[in-house]
């Protein structure tokens, strides 16, 4: 079974430029997550999708970050314009479902995209 795919693996941009990351979840997984992991910190959830709807985007800086999951499969996370503090690893994860605690579904993570903003 193929895992979660992410691209690119690495990206270096100048501040104020735009950047986009792509994620393809495990086939059949309804829930998709984007996390930001700044150096020295644990991953922080940015946005959670259930199919093509947003479940939680409370920690997404909406003035510069946007994400979409058209057709409920793959997803794109965009930053426009980028700031120095956006340098981080962006992790995508997916799970079968699980928007209730009664039915927890394990999250499977992709390898991440390392973003450096100069």
């Amino acid at each position: 079974e193929a895992g979660v795919a992410q691209s690119p693996r690495y990206k270096i941009i100048e501040k104020r430029q735009s950047v986009a990351f792509w994620c393809n979840p495990i086939s059949g997984h309804a829930t998709l997550y984007w996390y930001q992991q700044i150096l020295g910190q644990g991953p922080k959830l940015l946005i959670q999708f259930q199919n093509n709807g947003v479940v939680d985007d409370s920690q997404l800086p909406k003035d510069r970050f946007s994400a979409e999951r058209l057709k409920g499969v793959d997803s794109t996370l965009k930053i426009q314009p980028a700031k120095l503090e956006d340098s981080a690893v962006y992790l995508c994860a997916s799970s079968l479902g699980g928007t209730t605690r009664a039915g927890y579904n394990e999250q499977f993570f992709g390898p991440g995209t390392r973003l450096t903003v100069l």
Partner: protein, 112 residues
């Protein structure tokens, strides 16, 4: 608010020695708790999880963890560390609706 604290940023052990990584959580209800391992350039891999029942849980790669409600802790242990265990180890709690809240991680180094 839910949170996870991993007090040790770096730990170094000798190969073959025992290991204990600390994790403390803050959560109002019965927590779902997890330990993940993150190797350079790779995604997170689930080592083990606790939902309910037996407070000592076994995971992959010979790891185990013990849930102690009275201490709000979920420490990770391994009786004999291998060089391949060197990695970032992350503790997490489910904050509800499958939302994971991670600690800052403990970087494990293994000396030959």
């Amino acid at each position: 608010a839910q949170s996870v604290t991993q007090p040790d940023i770096h730990i170094t052990v000798s190969e073959g020695a025992s290991l204990e990584l600390r994790c403390n959580y803050s959560y109002g209800a019965t927590p779902y708790l997890f330990w993940y391992v993150q190797s350079p350039g790779q995604g997170l891999q689930l080592l083990l999880k606790y939902f309910s029942g037996d407070t000592l849980v076994q995971g992959i790669k010979g790891f185990e963890a013990e849930f102690k409600r009275s201490q709000s802790s979920f420490n990770l242990r391994k009786p004999s560390v291998h060089w391949s265990d060197a990695a970032e180890h992350l503790c997490a709690v489910d904050g509800g609706y499958n939302k994971l809240i991670f600690g800052a991680g403990t970087r494990l180094a293994v000396h030959p």
